[in-house]
Amino acid sequence: MSTPTMSPQDSRHIAKDAQSTLQWRRFKFPGSLIRYAVWLSVFVFLAYSVEYLEIPLERLLGIFGRMGATLANRYYPPDMEYIMDADYMRYVVETIQMAYLGALFGLVATVPLGWFASYNMTPSRCFVYPVARLVTMSCRAVHEMIFAIIFVAILGYGMLPGVLALTFFCTGFAGKLFAEEIEAIDIGPVEAMRATGANLFQIMVFGVFPQVRVAFTGIAIYTWDVAFRAATVVGFFGAGGMGWYLKRNVLQIESERVAAILVSIIILVFISEMLSAWARNTVMKMK
């Protein structure tokens, strides 16, 4: 009959009782321990790396000062006259041409390769697909400079090996992106084309390509970007273009000229990036 009244003592009693059963700790037994162990081992690995690579930690702070000094004494002022030269301009144009050809050939190779390497549209899943995947993956994994060096060793100095190296590089770069785009398409129109009795080629032209056209243009612009960036340096290993100038001056320790060349590379890449950003925006608006 008597309604229980909640006195302050009671409530404290409950709170005290709860304390003994309800607990919260930041440290959870197996989970946290594993996490700490992983982080610790990563840290130990990094610390060991510093030791192993014999990095002079105590000199590290001084190094930044030295870097500034090097920049100021040896690289400054850049010898701008050296690059304001018709001969150098010719090399710049050649670099652009090399990047253009490399990106173009790479993209042309990408169209069938991306198609073959897309799981949903490939002509044959058990034969063509793995081969195409292997080709794109190995083009992607090998650095463009390695391609350049090997082609120079085979074909001799010149721009031909540069173009080939950039072609392989762009094939790997664009191939994977393009295959992923094809794998993301809406399968409905493809089914509709199949139902009209179209063959595989016609399905690609009508059902697939219109869907990936905008994305492909974006990929093409992006490919041009990386191709041009790489083209400025493949010459360092004898594959033509501005890189060759760079190499010569590095070997002759003409640091002010190197600085000037670097400045020109930065400016050119900057211009090319602005152009491609503009192009990309225009394409996206067209969508």
Binding site: G188, A195, T196, A198, F201, P210
Partner: protein, 250 residues
């Protein structure tokens, strides 16, 4: 005359997966407007897709126009698909292409690769496409892109594309479930009208029983891959409907 004859059709999406169709048999005369009704998941879409082999049946016999569908070669399959028009639930138009190109894509089975690449279709085909677009009421939208149209207009493009093939059979897969009721009725009316005019038999898979009763002369009721009803629309009554949709009620 029978245009399509299906016997003991079985289908499943994967070898180990559940069977979607468990022995379906029916046949279509060349003046039929056939409806397949049934709850979702009953296998209606699979059944329709087996007929032009967008889905491979596991066993059974399909005879279309005196051709055994299940044993066709690649070449034969293309010729078969050329003769069967299909209209889709989600329209399946190529969104970034013009209405004209979408309708013309119905002629791909008759067009060579080179012509396809340059989209250079024959004058006859373009004339035919214009006539069809006029009939479905889209003659003013010829140059618009497919994604600029409303749902009902898109489905009309889909109808024109299917009719471009001069089909001997029209497969219609849920033509109205992406549309609102008023437009649904219009679209069904258009399909019915065009089919009667061009004397094309239809196999139409439809969720809405009222629409099926209104437009179709024969009905198949499917439930969980089994045929529960097959007959004239007049013979379909509430009791049989309840039986077909029993699973959904539960």
């Amino acid at each position: 005359m029978k245009i399509l004859d299906v016997k003991e059709l079985h289908a499943s999406y994967s070898a180990s997966g559940p069977e979607i169709l468990k022995g379906i048999s029916f046949s279509i005369e060349d003046d039929d407007f056939f409806a397949i009704i049934g709850p979702s998941g009953a296998g209606k879409s699979t059944l329709i897709r087996c007929i032009n082999r967008l889905v491979e049946p596991t066993s059974g016999v399909i005879v279309f126009d005196n051709r055994s569908v299940t044993t066709l070669s690649r070449k034969g399959l293309k010729l078969l698909r050329r003769d069967i028009g299909m209209i889709f639930q989600e329209f399946n138009l190529i969104n970034r292409m013009s209405v004209m190109d979408n309708v013309l894509s119905g002629r791909l089975g008759y067009t060579g690769n080179l012509r396809t690449l340059f989209r250079s279709f024959r004058r006859d085909d373009i004339d035919h496409a214009l006539q069809l677009l006029e009939r479905v009421g889209l003659i003013d939208h010829v140059d618009k892109r497919a994604d600029e149209l409303s749902g009902g207009q898109r489905q009309r493009v889909g109808i024109a594309r299917a009719l471009m093939q001069n089909p001997k059979l029209l497969l219609v897969d849920e033509p109205t479930s992406a549309l609102d009721p008023k437009i649904s009725r219009e679209v069904m009316g258009l399909i019915k009208q065009m089919a009667t005019e061009l004397k094309v038999p239809c196999l139409c898979n439809i969720h809405d029983v009222d629409l099926a009763k209104e437009f179709c002369n024969k009905i198949i009721g499917l439930q969980d891959g089994i045929k529960m009803f097959d007959g004239l629309t007049e013979d379909m009554d509430q009791g049989k409907l309840d039986e077909i949709y029993a699973m959904e009620v539960l």
